[in-house]
Structure formats: C-alpha cells, structure tokens
C-alpha cells in the first residue's frame, strides 16, 4: 500500500508529465468549479485549472518542501547534536542551551518570526519548518551519540589502541547517525503537514505554484460549493505523510534487524 503510494508520489514529483499532459497553471475562468468528471478527474478549481494536474505537479513542491525542511532540520540538528555529543563540556553546554531555547519556543512562533524577518516564500517556509523541527532531532542525535560514546564497543576499541579519530569516524558516527535516515523519513511527512499549515496562514509558496498546502487553504474558501478542491490535496498530504511514516517504520525495523543480520 505505502509502497504503491510512494511510487506514485515520487513519479508525480520527478516526472509529472508521465501522469498528466495538462498544464497545472493553465487558467480557464469559464471552466471554474467543475466537479470531478472523466475530463477533469479531480474537478477544476476557482480559476478553471485542473485539480488532478495540480495535485500531480504539487507533489514536487510539497515533497521538496518536506524533504528540504527535514534536511535543514536534520542538518542543524546534526551540528548541534555533534557539538553536544562530542564537543566536550563547553560544546555540550552550548548545544544543550540552544536546543532548550529552540524547544521552549513553539515551532510556529519560530516559523512566524522567521518568515516575518525573511519574507514568505518556498525557501523561507522550508527553512522555517526545518528550524522548528531541529531541536527534536538534535536531542535524539545527542543522546544517540552519547550512548554510543559510552558503549562497550567504543571502549573495546580504545583498549585495542585505536586512535580517537578512527574511533569517532569508524564507530561513533556511523553508530549514532544510522538512525538519522529513519528519523528523516519519519519527519518528512510531518514537515509536509507543517508546511501546509504555513500555507494556510498565507505564508507558503508564491502563487500560482501548485503546492498541496496552498491548494488546500485556497480551496477551503469554497468548501461548501466545491468539496473536491480540498479533498484531493488533503488526501495527497495525508497519504504522503502516512506513507513516509510507514516507510520510516519499515526502515527502522530493517536497521534494527540489519544490526542483527
């Protein structure tokens, strides 16, 4: 199920032309608000654009935001986590404080202030979402690093006389960072949901770019006359977020088993 959904979403993101031949931005006011029909599978929106086409093309934007935000969040978290996990007392102090402060501020507040500073747009909302997810990741990375650093096998490597650098590179980093990929996969879904909330508050991508959150929020206006405007992008978000979660869990299971066999 999840695999099929993901394949579909990835195709939509990487090669939307395979799934539709229409132009997602082609405006046709006379065709506005047509309910789903063979000609327009998901109906048309307020400007007469084909919703199906926009959902397909929206995959790239939404996925990009979701993945890029996760990468940003993980990247920032990695810096903080490494500082905390390996940086000695001072590094740990600094990184713990930074993470605490970021944690204490509700994510949306961080995002709102950041967007107010940098102005809205894809890049900003991506970074904003990334910012607000970073402290959570940082905490996990830090504790992972610490537990690996104190693990028996790192001690065993020390006893063997391996150099500190070698131990860090060969044992600590791979051991601690293996879960990051899984974390990231689990996080992409949430990041997409998050970014769509920013879209709802009018702080998302610039129109007319098709992005699910923005489609959802503009479609919400017409929810009583055109249900299809919200239902399809909404389902796309839910399906994507859910598939990424399923994928992340499967990966998690695999890496656990992978360590075993």
């Amino acid at each position: 199920m999840a695999i099929v959904a993901l394949l579909f979403i990835l195709t939509a993101a990487l090669a939307p032309q395979l799934l539709t031949t229409a132009d997602p931005d082609a405006v046709a006011p006379v065709d506005a608000f047509q309910s789903p029909s063979p000609a327009h599978l998901f109906g048309t929106d307020e400007s007469g654009r084909d919703v199906y086409t926009r959902v397909v093309f929206g995959a790239a934007n939404s996925l990009l935001i979701g993945i890029a935000a996760t990468v940003v969040g993980l990247g920032l978290a990695l810096v903080l986590g490494l500082l905390g996990g390996l940086g000695g007392r001072v590094g740990d102090f600094v990184s713990t404080r930074v993470v605490e402060v970021m944690f204490a501020l509700p994510g949306l507040l961080l995002a709102l202030v950041f967007i107010a500073i940098a102005g809205p747009g894809v890049v900003t909302s991506t970074v904003a979402v990334g910012l607000s997810t970073a402290p959570g990741y940082a905490r996990i990375i830090r504790s992972q690093l610490r537990s690996v650093r104190n693990s028996g096998y790192v001690e065993a490597a020390t006893v063997l006389g391996h150099s500190r650098l070698r131990i860090v590179v060969q044992h600590i980093l791979p051991g601690a960072l293996a879960p990051i990929f899984v974390l990231g996969t689990l996080g992409v879904g949430q990041a997409i949901v998050w970014a769509s909330s920013l879209g709802f508050l009018g702080l998302g991508v610039a129109p007319p770019a098709a992005e699910w959150g923005a489609m959802l929020s503009s479609g919400r206006t017409y929810i009583d006359v055109a249900w299809w405007l919200t239902v399809f992008p909404g389902l796309a978000i839910v399906a994507t977020a859910a598939s990424f979660t399923v994928l992340g869990r499967a990966l998690n299971e695999r890496t656990r088993q992978g360590a075993i066999g």
């Binding site: 402060v101 501020l105 509700p106 994510g107 949306l108 507040l109 107010a116 949901v193 508050l201 859910a242």
Partner: protein
C-alpha cells in the same frame, strides 16, 4: 537475615534526604528554566529588531498610518526607540526581570494582564486537548492492541491517518460534518464547554494518532516483558494484565513526550484559534507579528516558553514518580 549486597539498605535512613533531593531537582530544573527564559527573551528581542518595518508604525495605529512628524518623533522618545540598540536591550531585560512586559503598541494597554487572559484561554484549549488525546489514545490502543486481525489494523490505520492530518483541514471537515450537516455543535467557540468541543477535537485528533502509535509500540514491547508472564502465572486475567501492568509501561513514552506534545499543541493553537474564532495566544501572536507589536510578541514568546518549561518539568516529575528508574539515571 541481612543482605550484604543490598544497595538500598542505606535508604532506610535517608528518606528525608531523598525528599530533599527531589526538591533540589525541581529547583535545579526551574533555575535552568530561568536561564532559558532569559535566552528566549534575548533571541526574541534581537529577532524582532531584524524584522523589516518600524515599530513606530505599530504604535501609530498600524503600518498604514499617516501620522505627523512630531507624532513619530514623540513616540520614538516615549518608547525609548531613539536609544542605541544595546541600551534598549538592557532596558528591556531589566523590565522583563521584574515582570514588566510594557504596553502593547497596537492596543495601548498593559501587555501582562492582556496576554495572561489569552494564555488562560489557550491553556484551557491545549490542556483539554492533551487530556482528550490521551484518553482517546488510551482507549484506542487498549481496545485494539494485543488483538490480531481487523480491530488492530483499523486501530493502527486510524492512528496513522490522524497523525498525518493538517489541523486546518481537519477543522474544516469537522465543521462540515458535525456542525453544518449534523448540526450537533456550534462552528464557533461559544462560551461554555459546548464551544470547546470542536477546537479540542481538532487539536487532539492528530495528537491522538501520534500518541496512539507510540503507545501501540511500547505496549507491544511491554507485552513481551517477563513480568507480564509472571503476572499471568499468578492467575491475573487478560484485562488485569492490561490495566494493572502493561498500561503504565505503554504510557511511559507518551508521558515523556507530553511536554513536547504540549509545545506542538501551542503551535496548533494558532490555526485552531483562527478558525474557530477563539481568543488565545496563537491568534494574539499571529496578529502581533503581522503588525510588529513587539511587546506583545515578546510576552507571548516568554509565556509560551514559561508554560512549556513548567509542563516539561511537570511531565518529567510525573515520569519520575511513575518510573523510579528515570530518577536514577
């Protein structure tokens, strides 16, 4: 018979000391919290100065104001905006240190009481949501876990979907179904518990999904623990095992994450308060940021940070009470 290897023997005499230790723990956590608050205030102070737009506009009735030059100059002096930034910073911190949040630029009223009322309304919403999410998640996992077949698949499927639903979309769906179609509930937050139901459901359902997933996993782990076999070996019934033993273990990670969950609820509150026209911190924040009402944004940030800190300390404390192993670490 004495046990020489008994590490807890000394505890017999150190009970008051243990209590003292707990107090010290709380004090240390709150002390750390103060530091975090100060950092939050600092970050917010400088971040808000980075935002384009002149705070004087906010003071003079919004950014479109056409106030005279004298008015602008007067305001600048009155609000200390003519001072160098660093002086402004220290003045602001000194005021915050004595809990003086100043006057709202836009509303011209004292920020503290205003934001506190908003906080109260948000707290009612978020705490109710947290409780509802917990109850729903517990009910869902308790009823569907440990079973095979459709009940479990439906349970975990629901959780997966719920966790992936954006708040604002869920709100729309709930309004359409429960309010417009079934006429069960008012679409806006009317005073009293009735008006709280839809906003709370909107916030709680995604969290339910999240908590549910978490609990299902830890429940499965708990079922594999030897103490479960040992409880069964005592003649405990299936529900006895579930409620007396497994439940607590399943709830543990959820409790630890409740502080975090609370933070995400605060974020969700922005959307929910806007849609359901509820007063609260989220809406206050949204409008204050868009008109650069700096004292209000600062107060909202500090108050949410403070609540977050208190909630985390509280959940950690609960964690320590429920699971003494935590305190040992």
């Amino acid at each position: 018979m004495t046990d020489p290897s008994d590490p807890t023997a000394e505890r017999l005499s150190t009970r008051p000391a243990a209590r003292l230790r707990s107090l010290a723990w709380v004090a240390r956590r709150l002390g750390g919290g103060l530091f975090v608050l100060w950092m939050v205030a600092t970050v917010i102070f400088f971040a808000l100065r980075l935002i384009p737009g002149d705070p004087v506009d906010a003071i003079l009735g919004g950014p479109g104001s056409q106030a005279s030059a004298e008015a602008v100059a007067q305001i600048r002096v009155e609000y200390g905006l003519d001072q160098p930034l660093i002086v402004q910073y220290f003045l602001a911190m000194a005021k915050l240190a004595v809990a003086d949040f100043g006057t709202s630029y836009a509303l011209k009223i004292a920020v503290a009481p205003y934001v506190l009322t908003q906080l109260w309304s948000t707290l009612v919403l978020t705490i109710a949501s947290l409780v509802v999410a917990w109850v729903l998640a517990l009910a869902l996992t308790m009823v569907t876990s440990g079973r095979r077949g459709p009940a479990r698949a439906v349970g975990s499927g629901l959780e997966l979907l719920a966790a992936a639903v954006p708040h604002f979309w869920l709100a729309s769906l709930l309004i359409i179904v429960l309010s417009n179609t079934l006429h069960w509930l008012p679409p806006i937050s009317v005073p009293g518990p009735l008006g709280l139901i839809l906003p709370v459901l909107t916030l709680a359902l995604p969290l339910t999904g999240f908590l549910g997933q978490l609990m299902r996993e830890s429940l499965a782990n708990a079922y594999e623990q030897p103490f479960v076999v040992s409880a069964r070996a005592r003649g405990e019934s299936e529900w006895g095992v579930r409620f007396r033993h497994v439940l607590r273990h399943a709830a543990l990670p959820g409790i630890s994450l409740s502080g975090w969950a609370f933070g995400s609820l605060l974020s969700g509150a922005v959307v929910v308060e806007t849609i359901f026209a509820r007063p609260g911190l989220g809406r206050t924040l949204l409008s204050a940021v868009s008109i650069r009402d700096i004292p209000v944004v600062t107060a909202v940030a500090l108050l949410s940070a403070l609540t977050f800190i208190i909630v985390t300390v509280a959940t950690d404390a609960i964690d320590r009470i429920v699971d003494p192993r935590v305190a040992k670490q």
